[in-house]
């Protein structure tokens, strides 16, 4: 069976509470209604009615709910929290040191305001007007990449494979 249309991008969209989502099927069958609150996840019975073999990664648990059965363990989260905090603080210290350092240097060092580096710019002006923006982007990319990488490597070890088995 082929499903049609554009994708939903988030399961958390269902956290709003009271409304119902529809899954539209391209085979002409009526749209399927699914309660969409976080605590009203699609039931196993409901999904079984609409699509018996929806996806092997859905876990039809004994409590009558069906969901992706991916979860973190407290130990994983605690380890990641500590590492993320250390990394965030390290990047922040670097960021503040450079940003405020430039500010202090411009105020205290004559050459930063009066000498000329290129095209008439003083070192202080070129840093404040252009250079620091590049620095911010570099720090941001580095920090975000590292944070994402840590989460990928340290969490979800016991979770389901990210790619479904191809038939």
């Amino acid at each position: 069976m082929r499903w049609a249309g554009k994708p939903c991008t988030t399961i958390d969209d269902m956290s709003g509470g009271q409304r119902t989502n529809h899954i539209r099927l391209a085979d002409g069958s009526p749209p399927q209604s699914i309660p969409s609150a976080r605590h009203r996840r699609p039931t196993a019975a409901h999904l079984a009615t609409s699509e018996p073999a929806l996806d092997p990664r859905f876990d039809s648990s004994a409590d009558g709910y069906a969901s992706f059965s991916d979860a973190d363990t407290p130990a994983e989260v605690d380890a990641v929290f500590r590492l993320q905090r250390r990394i965030a603080v390290a990047h922040f210290v670097t960021f503040m040191f450079v940003t405020l350092g430039v500010s202090v240097a411009i105020v205290t060092l004559d050459w930063a305001a009066t000498s000329r580096v290129f095209g008439g710019f003083s070192p202080g002006f070129v840093l404040a007007a252009i250079g620091l923006y590049f620095f911010f982007v570099i720090v941001a990319v580095a920090a975000a990449s590292l944070a994402n990488s840590i989460e990928d490597r340290m969490m979800g070890a016991g979770s389901l494979p990210s790619e479904p088995p191809r038939s």
Binding site: R2, W3, A4, G5, P7, C8, T9, T10, I11, D12, D13, S15, G16, R19, N21, H22, I23, P31, D55, R57, F68, D70, A71, D72, P74, V77, R85, A88, F92, F95, T99, S103, V104, I106, V107, A113, T114, G119, G120, F121, S122, G124, F125, A128, A129, L132, Y133, F134, F136, V137, A140, V141, A144, N148, E151, M155, S159, L160, S162, P164
Partner: protein, 565 residues
């Protein structure tokens, strides 16, 4: 005159069309109205955050501040851009993962405290109003330059305030977060395009950035001593050396400590701005929120670097121009109102059409920020107060109506406040009245919500009592300081940028009170929600499954669309 209004009319009609389109795709629920269904993509959200953040203070104010005080003005732009680094490093992903609708909601749930929630609502409204009023002032100033048309009984300045606030309020009411997001993203692209166009026009005209800085720096900086026709130019004193200030040297506006204080205030204030932080709740996942912030830092950097260059160019170019229309706006080639710098450059390089384009851009900047602020206010009143306390049994229509009513009330309040405020009284005492007033919002945010968010996310020991006391003390002290700083003559600039002192003080107070009280039980569950990534993985997996299957999830109220297709 016709071309002026044609461009403005087109922009307004496009914004209106976007809002109507968003309304058609909306589910008419409070979550959709407030958070666009939490389905805003990374690039769209980044552009929308930039549109939200780039207000009159940035589009007109940064160029104006650079124009008026040179290097010290450039630090405004640097501080505005730098503010997103702490957001990226400490707040964006955990805030989104906890999955609430607003900052008061987040703090209230994190500490399981209604007191914290209510205090956060009050603080949020104070910050929103402090940010909203300068936007309306910017709308009035821009309209005043744009046209002398005035509504009966109002000045052109007041008419601009009414036009910008009422129109935006209307767009927000009909478009909700989805319409506002699309409008903000579009408006930011337009604003960036205008700066790029002026930059290219300057280069084509032979403008050399470095040479202009060197030339401006070669002579003392002179500024008009008032707005009157007979005002004269006076030398600006360097507050560090006591000598006449120069364009590319520090001290025209701030002394050494003041420079440092401004940066700290702007850096820590951004993380506490409710209208900006609320946008992270619209991201699908915590990781998407994080990557959105990276894009914001890149886009906003390009924008501010261009704004600083344009401010410099205005100072260099306008004093060499001999055009009749400039005479009434300038004193010996120097603009009486620095906020007119960008507008004047638009007219120099694009004539009437150029002026209309920049003016329209300025009004769009104002509208996009006002839109974000009104929505943040709406969420705070509608969700945090009405749905929880006034009418806990509210159905979705009632909740939606409450949010829309909040938008209307805040619109009126902002318009009246901006009309009462007379920007002329600040001329000469502050480099750019719009940018300076916005700094007030940053100062209060940096002393209240930023410490609360940082500690809520990263400290297990912090308690509801600590956060509540800290926010109350921070709000009172912050407001007092900035009021004295703005209205008092000859007081230290530290009063206008008090976060450098009050921020650490509030953090210390929060921690001290927390040590004497007990943290909430069941912290492990909250920690898993904030710092775990299972929710992200599940969401990504669901999205992948849906993409592979070609399925579409559609809200119930748009089932007509499903049937038709």
């Amino acid at each position: 005159m016709t071309s002026r209004f044609t461009i403005l009319l087109v922009a307004v009609l496009v914004a209106l069309a976007v809002s109507v389109l968003a309304r058609l795709r909306s589910t008419r629920t409070a979550v959709d109205f407030q958070l666009a269904g939490r389905r805003v993509g990374v690039i769209t959200n980044a552009c929308a955050i930039c549109g939200d953040y780039v207000s009159a203070a940035s589009f007109l104010g940064v160029a104006a501040a650079v124009y008026a005080v040179g290097l010290d003005g450039a630090w405004y732009a640097t501080g505005f851009a730098a503010g997103f680094l702490p957001v990226l490093l400490f707040i964006a992903a955990p805030l989104r993962r906890f999955g609430d609708r607003s900052i008061p909601d987040f703090l209230g749930r994190r500490f399981e405290s209604e007191t914290v929630r209510i205090i956060a609502v009050v603080v949020t409204q104070i910050i929103i109003l402090a940010y909203l009023v300068p936007q309306a002032v910017g709308g009035g100033l821009t309209w005043e330059l744009f046209t002398d048309i005035a509504l009966p009984g109002l000045t052109p300045y007041s008419t601009g305030i009414v036009a910008s606030t009422v129109l935006t309020g209307f767009l927000v009411v009909i478009g909700g977060m989805r319409g506002t997001t699309w409008n903000q993203a579009l408006q930011f692209i337009v604003l960036l395009g205008i700066l790029v166009w002026i930059s290219l026009a300057l280069v084509a005209d032979g403008f050399s950035y470095g040479s202009a800085v060197a030339e401006l720096n070669a002579q003392p900086m002179l500024n008009p001593d008032g707005l009157e026709p007979n005002s004269t130019l006076t030398a600006t004193d360097n507050r560090i050396t006591g000598l006449p200030a120069r364009f590319a040297e520090p001290g025209a506006r701030y002394n050494g400590i003041g420079q440092f204080a401004l940066m700290v205030t702007l850096v820590f204030g951004t993380a506490g701005l409710p209208h900006v932080m609320n946008r992270f709740f619209t991201s699908p996942t915590g990781r998407a929120a994080r990557m959105t912030t990276v894009w914001v830092i890149a886009l906003i950097g390009v924008f501010y670097a261009a704004a600083v260059m344009v401010g410099t160019a205005a100072r260099s170019v306008l004093q060499t121009r001999d055009e009749a229309w400039l005479e009434s706006m300038t004193v010996q080639g120097v603009l009486k109102t620095p906020e007119h710098a960008l507008l004047a450059l638009g007219r120099v390089y694009g004539g009437e059409v150029g002026l209309s384009t920049v003016t329209t851009g300025a009004l769009l900047a104002i509208m996009s920020t006002i839109g974000g602020l009104l929505l943040a206010s709406s969420v705070s009143w509608g969700h945090d107060l009405y749905e929880r306390y006034v009418n806990p049994q509210a159905n979705r229509v009632e909740a939606l109506r409450a949010g829309q009513l909040a938008v209307v009330v805040m619109t009126v309040l902002a318009a009246i406040s901006a009309m009462v405020l007379n920007p002329a009284r600040f001329t000469g005492s502050v480099p750019s009245v719009v940018a300076s007033l916005v700094t007030t919002a940053f100062a209060v945010a940096g002393c209240t919500l930023t410490p609360a968010l940082l500690l809520a996310i990263w400290s297990r020991r912090i308690t509801a009592a600590g956060v509540a006391v800290g926010m109350v003390v921070g709000a009172i002290a912050g407001l007092l300081a900035v009021t004295v700083g703005l209205l008092g003559d000859g007081v230290s600039t530290l009063f206008q940028t008090p976060t450098v002192i009050l921020g650490p003080g509030v953090v210390t107070l929060m921690m001290a009170v927390s040590l004497a009280t007990r943290p909430v039980p069941d912290l492990a569950t909250k920690w898993m929600a904030m710092h775990g990534s299972a929710g992200d993985r599940n969401a990504e997996r669901l999205a992948r499954v849906t993409v592979e299957s070609g399925a579409e999830w559609r809200p119930a109220s748009t089932s007509w669309w499903v049937r038709r297709s």
